[in-house]
């Protein structure tokens, strides 16, 4: 692939990106969120049409018009979410949608499936229902399906994100086997260690741009991280964050020990003081969001102890956290944050209303007053307080959710990716708001995939990797370089 460009209305998703895959290699495609990995893959598999550039296989230029086109040519894709049918048998899943005839020879299908499974060493029976297999096996069956379609190029998009270590190893041995058979594998993942374990070469993208192609053996992990994040180190125009040490009370507002959750985050200790802004950082999938969710009990808490203002408390569900004065702005705005069909007003008052109680609804007038106040304070652009929140822009939706929590007057506010997908102006507004809140004595945990933003707002960073805390930075060590060092495992 050479000089690939792809634009969406308003965004240039890929500009002049090149990608070369050799026969029998594992090639990792790396980049942070929004770097353009998915778009590139979708161009490769014919889901999107490219705007410019060319794709060639074995030196011959080709043009995929649809995913079927690409599939027939031998490009197989296995997505992060398993796209098979859990209620069908393994064999059915392997052959479904591929027959050209209305009738199926069940016997030969079963035999073929059995042979294929055996040759790839996948421990599954053809007649077994797919949902009875573990996720890793399901993943492998999806790969087997792709291989059986004579694929020359196999694209694995985050195949390991829902697998445990053993399962990952099984998957890797399958990948090595395929490599020997001459299949070219594109491997997309956020786990750095895995990249080095299996990949031959690495291509890095950032903000839709091609950063470079490297040999895995010669590129140190630290450099890979810095290439993914981009080096804005000489950006001197950083707003210097406030120092809160002066009025620092010694007792943390919130304190957790050995906290773990069903979402798979390893037990961790965490504390935040009054008026402090700290943050969880790490690459996507490092467990930074899961940790925040564990604090708020958004995921089922499986262990650990929490204290609020030095007193032992139990946070078993979000309501407990809310009652203790904790607010949580979720990472997935659409899925977890907004109530799409309800009005801006209802979305703003929701949390406070729930705190007040089922039998004590706010009067319409009171609700209007609250909504008007925050629409003005946060400069939310909406036609009226009754407009459904879904018709607002992403940034304004985010401000509505922020307003929802500010209205509850929280002692401790967790903001997970509050600035994702919103324009620069609003981003700065939100950052300023966070600092202002801290000045007023609110403790804030701020999570963002943009490292500059976190450096600008947080006075302490907790670095995460593979769902565990690997380091903590504050004061003079709070630089992009140090963060990358810790993420890459270099230490200090």
């Amino acid at each position: 692939m050479r000089g690939i460009c792809k634009s969406f209305p308003g965004v240039k998703a890929l500009s002049d990106v090149s990608f070369t895959l050799r026969k029998g290699e594992v090639h990792a495609l790396m980049g942070e969120n929004g770097a353009g990995k998915s778009t590139l893959i979708k161009v490769m598999t014919g889901v999107y049409e490219k705007d410019a550039g060319q794709i060639a296989v074995d030196g011959k230029p080709i043009h995929f018009r649809s995913p079927q086109d690409a599939q027939e040519f031998g490009v197989g894709t296995v997505y992060q979410e398993i796209t098979l049918c859990p209620n069908l048998s393994v064999a059915e899943n392997m052959f479904i949608g591929r027959g050209r005839y209305a009738f199926v020879n069940w016997k030969s299908m079963k035999d073929k499936a059995a042979r294929l499974l055996a040759s790839l060493g996948i421990p599954a029976r053809p007649t077994q229902q797919l949902s009875s297999c573990s996720l890793a096996i399901q993943q492998m069956i999806a790969i087997a399906r792709a291989i059986d379609m004579d694929c020359k190029i196999l694209i694995l998009d985050e195949p390991t994100s829902s697998l445990d270590e053993d399962e990952v190893q099984k998957l890797f041995s399958l990948m090595r086997q395929l490599k020997e058979q001459g299949v070219g594998i594109v491997f997309v993942t956020h786990f750095l260690d895995q990249v080095y374990e299996i990949s031959d070469r690495i291509t890095v993208l950032r903000n839709g741009e091609y950063i470079g192609e490297y040999d895995a053996s010669t590129l140190p992990q630290f450099e890979l991280v810095s290439k993914m994040m981009g080096k804005a180190l000489d950006d001197v125009s950083q707003i210097k964050k406030h120092e809160i040490a002066a009025r620092d009370s010694r007792v943390p507002v919130f304190e957790a020990t050995g906290l773990s959750s069903a979402a798979g985050v390893k037990p961790f200790d965490f504390a935040i003081r009054k008026g402090e802004v700290n943050g969880f950082t790490g690459l996507l999938g490092s467990g930074r969001s899961e940790s925040a969710r564990a604090i708020y009990a958004a995921d089922k808490v499986t262990g650990g102890e929490v204290k609020m203002n030095g007193k032992k408390v139990r946070i078993g569900e979000p309501m407990h956290a809310m009652k203790l004065g904790i607010g949580y702005l979720p990472e997935d705005r659409k899925g977890d944050g907004i109530i799409a069909d309800l009005s801006v007003r209802d979305n703003i008052i929701l949390a406070l209303q729930v705190l007040k109680g089922f039998f004590k609804p706010f009067s319409r007038k009171q609700a209007e007053t609250f909504a008007d106040e925050y629409i003005k304070a946060l400069n939310i652009k909406t036609a009226s307080t009754s407009t459904p929140i879904k018709s607002l822009s992403g940034g304004n939706q985010q401000k509505v959710i922020l307003a929802r929590w500010l209205l509850t007057n929280p002692e401790y506010l967790i903001l997970d990716e509050p600035t994702r997908g919103i324009d620069v102006g609003t981003k700065v507004e939100i950052q300023k708001l966070v600092l202002k809140l801290a000045e007023d004595g609110v403790s804030v945990t701020f999570i963002s995939s943009e490292i500059e933003e976190m450096l600008r707002t947080c006075s302490r960073l907790i670095v995460m990797k593979d769902r565990a805390i690997v380091g903590e930075l504050s004061g003079e060590n709070l630089t992009e370089r140090d963060v990358m060092h810790v993420i890459a495992g270099g230490g200090e």
Binding site: E317, F358, S384
Partner: protein, 364 residues
């Protein structure tokens, strides 16, 4: 104002259908609205519609709530009403004398059974995550046999003045009792919605369960609660139906009413997938269905073929209300406005005004 507008648009469909039906009736005979007084009570087409639709209105209110919170429908409401009313009759007949007190006691007993049924369906839907239609299919299948057994394999008769008056007219009151009971029920429901956050919670859970939970709402509790409320609705509807009939027929009492109740919710402009709801819409929807039934009768459509005509009417209604047609309609309106706006400005505003009479009416 924007709220009134959005609300207005939702109510446009049922209201305009109602208007068309009334127009058809007026064409058929100009005496449609005429009232007559028999034995001191009002009778006529309109009172008959209000009388006939009582149970449906009450059930569609409850149906609206469960639709909002759980994004599914309860198909056992008619059967549930047969059970609750059989309990009502059983308790009343075994109480010795029939007085207002024993009637009240029997009614409260039937409400209790309604709550039990609501808890059963609610538990399946809210706790075990069974699809509402499948969960309520259980009772739908078994319910009438249960009612038959409670009845003692008979069809008990309520031969007394008091229940007779509840089912028709109380001497000295000019309006038929079921109409009054329905109005009281609607008023109580309005108070419930006014004094609690039921609407906000149910809409939140129905729109985005995950977000609702993160804001401290317990989705399981809210879904469960709405099914309990529907249970009470079935008890009230069963009570009205059995006093109207004067006997308990476990096989035919409120037969197929569940489908009409769901239809009322849909005609009321409510999304059957849950979320935002309008009780007013459902109530109008329920009366619309009753008007439709009676219009077909008035047009002397064969009783046997009435269902087919009704089906055709509903198909037309649903297609008009579908988002696809709506999108086309608004596109067409824009085109028309642009077209006429350039050519003959004065006529354009008149033409557009006539066609967008809906929106104009709303803004008043």
């Amino acid at each position: 104002m924007a709220k009134a507008k959005a609300h207005g648009f939702q109510l446009f469909l049922p209201l305009s259908v109602l208007a068309i039906l009334i127009l058809i009736n007026l064409i058929k005979g100009a005496d449609y609205f005429s009232l007559s007084i028999i034995n001191g009570a009002l009778y006529g087409n309109i009172p008959n519609i209000l009388f006939g639709a009582s149970e449906l209105v009450i059930l569609s209110i409850g149906m609206t709530l469960v639709t909002s919170s759980s994004g599914g429908q309860d198909i056992s409401v008619g059967v549930a009403a047969a059970i609750t009313s059989s309990v009502f009759v059983k308790v009343l007949l075994s109480a010795g004398g029939i007085t207002w007190m024993t009637i009240l006691a029997a009614f409260l007993a039937s409400c209790l059974i309604g709550l039990v049924i609501g808890a059963f369906n609610g538990a399946l839907v809210a706790i075990f995550n069974v699809q509402p239609m499948v969960a309520t299919l259980i009772l739908f299948t078994a319910g009438r046999s249960v009612a038959f057994l409670i009845d003692g394999r008979l069809s008990p008769i309520l031969a007394n003045d008091l229940t007779g008056q509840l089912g028709s007219v109380i001497p000295g009151v000019p309006i038929q009792t079921p109409i009054i009971l329905t109005v009281i029920f609607i008023a109580l429901f309005a108070v419930l919605l006014k004094t609690t956050n039921l609407k906000l919670y149910s809409e939140s859970v129905g729109t985005n369960q995950k977000a609702a939970r993160l804001n401290g709402i317990d989705p399981i509790r809210i879904k469960f609660l709405t099914y309990m409320i529907l249970g009470v609705c079935t008890a009230v509807a069963g009570f009205i139906a059995v006093t109207k009939a004067g006997r308990h027929d476990s096989v035919n009492l409120l037969k197929f009413v569940e489908m009409d109740a769901i239809l009322a919710v849909a005609i009321g402009g409510n999304a059957l997938g849950g979320g935002k709801f309008s009780i007013t819409g459902s109530i109008i929807g329920a009366y619309t269905i009753e008007v439709l039934n009676r219009t077909l009768l008035r047009l002397e459509v064969d009783t046997e073929t009435i269902k087919a005509f009704k089906a055709v009417f509903i198909i037309i209604l649903m297609v008009i209300a579908s988002p696809v047609v709506r999108a086309y309609a608004s596109k067409g309106m824009k085109w028309l406005r642009a077209r006429l706006g350039v050519a003959v400005p004065i006529q354009a505003s008149a033409g557009a005004g006539a066609e967008s009479g809906i929106s104009a009416k709303k803004e008043e």
